[in-house]
């Protein structure tokens, strides 16, 4: 009986591979296969600084961390208080301006999530995630 359970399980595991491969082919251009953020959506500290006034900085970390320190001129915008903070941020954006979102470090996800919502919900173009996050910015500036 155990053998039958295993056989059934293996058959289901194999069957599920087929549409998964098909879906992978269908989404091949929409998925970043090697890194969670496609290279075209990343900005280095040097790149972002070179944009000067043409860039708006968005701090996706929790407010306490933002209050402690942040990139000069950055706006606090995180998912926990999205509805309150987005209306404060939007008037400062204008078409053509690049948005650079950062969170604590390379490994955090908040910047990626906020950048995605800025693109999808707020319909902003030119939204980038800062490579290395706040940690990298501090390293390069102090």
């Amino acid at each position: 009986m155990k053998l039958r359970v295993v056989r059934e399980g293996l058959l289901l595991i194999a069957l599920a591979c087929l549409p998964a491969v098909g879906e992978g082919i269908y989404f091949r251009d929409k998925i970043s296969w090697q890194s969670p953020i496609p290279a075209s959506e990343l900005a280095t500290v040097d790149q972002a600084r070179a944009w000067g006034d043409g860039a708006i900085w968005v701090d996706a970390r929790p407010e306490e961390e933002f209050a402690r320190d942040h990139v000069p001129g950055a706006f606090s915008l995180n998912e926990d208080h999205w509805n309150e903070l987005l209306p404060q941020f939007l008037p400062n954006w204008s078409p053509g301006k690049k948005v650079v979102v950062y969170c604590s470090a390379e490994s955090c996800n908040a910047a990626r999530e906020v950048a995605k919502r800025l693109r999808d919900d707020a319909q902003l173009n030119d939204v980038f995630v800062l490579q290395g996050g706040w940690e990298e910015w501090v390293k390069r500036n102090r």
Partner: protein, 143 residues
Amino acid sequence: MKFFWRILDLIVAGVFIYAGVLKILDPVQFANDIDNYKTLPWFVSVRLALYLPWLEIFCGLAVLFRFLYRGGLSILTALIAVFITATVAAKMRGLDISCGCFGHASKNWSFPQHLAIDLSIFVALVALLSIELMGRARHDQKT
């Protein structure tokens, strides 16, 4: 009593089919949800995000139509057990995760809500599997 177990079958199958379909629609979001657990490299997360929803759907259908039934139940039980372990481990490591179990719809669930739902599904699956295996064993003994 048979009717009760069949209803439970339908509920469990429905939950997994629904969850699978939601994730298929947005594989990138599901890959991000898996990546949030910080246990697997991205290239594995993204491949799992493409594969796991189909496995959930196939196993859900197996339970729904009682075809490859025990295999389906066993896989779903294993999946939910792994998922509960990963969720608890992530919480213990202080990670703020959204489970991704029902796509972005479950994003705002609290940790106790996640756990309560996952444990309920796990208990239902274990019960269904036990009933099936015990029933089968009794049947085999008779014949």
